[in-house]
């Protein structure tokens, strides 16, 4: 089975036109199979980009990409619920659930499970597959041994198993907006300050060490996942999808590198320095995969 390369949901609040142009470029130039579209972090951002959904989805489909809409990860208030309900009501659309609210609507028909759903074990995987889940983007913090078990179960059940191989890691969600807090504001009065940081707002320790990145209610890692060199092992496990989480980098070039490695046209060792040259501002990490501290970089 040909490995799928995917573009995960854009976690950041870029100006709407900039985001639209990002998807247009992916549609026209990136060698990816599937693109996830939709606001997963904060429903307050949704009205900005929502008017572009049709245009973006159309362009992506014309570019030969499968389009999947990804739902909000933390659903608390009516605005959030409404956002999930609206996506799940889209006719003929494939929806990726990031919260049990979406499962309320999607259970019983074909859908996907997002990386912000807690699918850690094979019992959960089997149950959800039995209710119509066709693809599972696995949580970021799981290790190779767990991925292996889930990929084996996924193969048995005939569902896709997707692993995030590039991008900052989502480490936590909160009800409070930390972007607003950094700017001495509150969530209701946020002024959309998250728009100022294309890849998140960096937090350093009191000793000046980069640690985390704030993205609204979400806390991300400072380090950027890079599983380029683990791809042969992931393929041997039966992982079917390889997700790139969007950043303000040259995502087309990054997609081409991963595509080349997935197609065995480029060795991971040759690709690694080229990837580093494309994303120098964030150190690479792969600790979760190797079952050590997530911020670590383990030489494969």
């Amino acid at each position: 089975m040909r490995a799928k390369l995917t573009i995960g949901p854009n976690l950041f609040h870029w100006p709407a036109e900039e985001k639209r142009d990002f998807y247009f470029q992916i549609a026209d130039e990136a060698p990816v199979d599937t693109v996830y579209v939709g606001e997963v972090v904060c429903a307050k951002r949704t009205p900005y980009f929502e008017p572009y959904y049709d245009e973006v989805a159309e362009r992506l489909k014309r570019g030969g990409k499968e389009v999947i809409f990804s739902t909000l990860a933390e659903v608390m208030i009516r605005r959030d619920s409404a956002s999930v309900a609206a996506l799940c009501a889209l006719p003929d659309a494939m929806i990726e659930a990031n919260d049990a609210s979406a499962l309320w609507y999607l259970s019983g028909r074909p859908h996907a499970i997002g990386a912000l759903m807690n699918v850690y074990g094979e019992d959960t995987l089997s149950f959800l597959a039995g209710k119509g889940a066709r693809n599972f983007a696995l949580p970021a913090e799981i290790s190779a041994a767990t991925i292996r078990a889930l990929a084996a179960k996924g193969g048995e059940l005939g569902v896709g198993i997707e692993v995030t191989v590039y991008g900052r890691v989502s480490l936590a969600l909160s009800s409070r907006c930390y972007h607003a807090r950094a700017h001495r504001r509150t969530k209701d009065d946020c002024g959309y300050v998250c728009e100022l940081d294309r890849d998140g707002l960096e937090l350093r320790t009191l000793q000046g060490k980069p640690f985390l990145a704030v993205n609204g209610i979400q806390t991300l890692s400072h380090g950027c996942t890079n599983l380029l060199r683990e791809i042969p092992e992931l393929r041997a496990m039966g992982v079917t999808g390889y997700r790139l989480s969007p950043h303000s980098k040259d995502m087309v070039a990054i997609a081409r590198l991963f595509r080349a490695v997935l197609d065995d046209a480029l060795s991971p060792l040759d690709a690694a320095p080229r990837l580093a040259a494309l994303g120098p501002s964030m150190p690479f990490v792969n600790g979760f995969y190797h079952h050590v501290e997530g911020y670590r970089w383990v030489e494969a």
């Binding site: 609210s101 969600l173 209701d188 009191l206």
Partner: protein, 340 residues
Amino acid sequence: MQQRDTTILTRPNLVCPAGTPAALRTAVDAGADEVYCGFQNATNARNFPGLNFTRDELRESVAYAHDHGARVLLATNTFAPGDATGLWRQAIDDGIRCQVDAVIVADIGVAHYVATRYPAQRLHLSVQAGASSPEAIRYYCREFGVKRVVLPRILTVKEIKAVHDEIPCEIEVFIFGNIGMMAEGRCSLTNYATGISTNTDGVCSPAHHVHYVEDGERNLTTMLGDFTIDCFAAGQSAGYPTICKGRYFAAGRDDEYYAFEEPRSLNLTSLLPELMRAGVSALKIEGRQRSRAYVQAVVSAFRKAVDDYLAGREPELDSLLALTEGHKETQGAFGEKRWR
């Protein structure tokens, strides 16, 4: 003393923590309606050394509670990773053999196991499941027959009331104790810094990764793994290093600040009548890692406060502040939306 209108206050269950059999007996004696506890392994979210129950201890503890009119809830509320589901199934089997009154779960696979293997067993949805909307809660009720949901500590009382009106199960809320800043069950910060997962290993900020570094002037730096969480001048009392209560620098700000929250404890004592009017069935006290003395003091204070409210008396609430973290308290998200 001013009398209050009590006609619409229904009696909520007081749900208390127990890290040891002795703490469980203490909580029961102090007036707990329900006590929650877990086994000595990764199946519960307070998997600390020296804490929690063996199978025999649980059996004896359940008998003690039942003899005194209290119920025991088994927390099996972490996530079973990969093919390691046996440990979680075993915990459920053992708990049910010990005749616990309810099991508290977060993992969909574990919930499914309980619902199919033990359909008569009362099932509670843990806060770790992160079900914060009516649709999410209804999903768990529909699929697994959940009878009670423990709400994440992120909703205001008004929002809790709205949720209550839209779901078919009971609501349990945290009223006192440690307050995590992140949505429970959705935080990998500890794993990022220590390699230990809160969701699958059941530990947040594990003690064996905590370091206190003192300099020549007796200033103290608290660390988790390789990361500084906070610094304290000589003589200041240093808090336990938890990532979401540390101080950091943010790009564009020149001061160090609590990027998430200051170290404070949750104390909703003064909101109790409102919570009871909002239809909350169970009031939960955090702290399975706490001492018997703490459990005794907090449980009896809340027992009295709840009973006073029910009887139309204004309770004495000040004693609880002394038990909060650093003697600083907050109503968190429960009081008002601006907290977010």
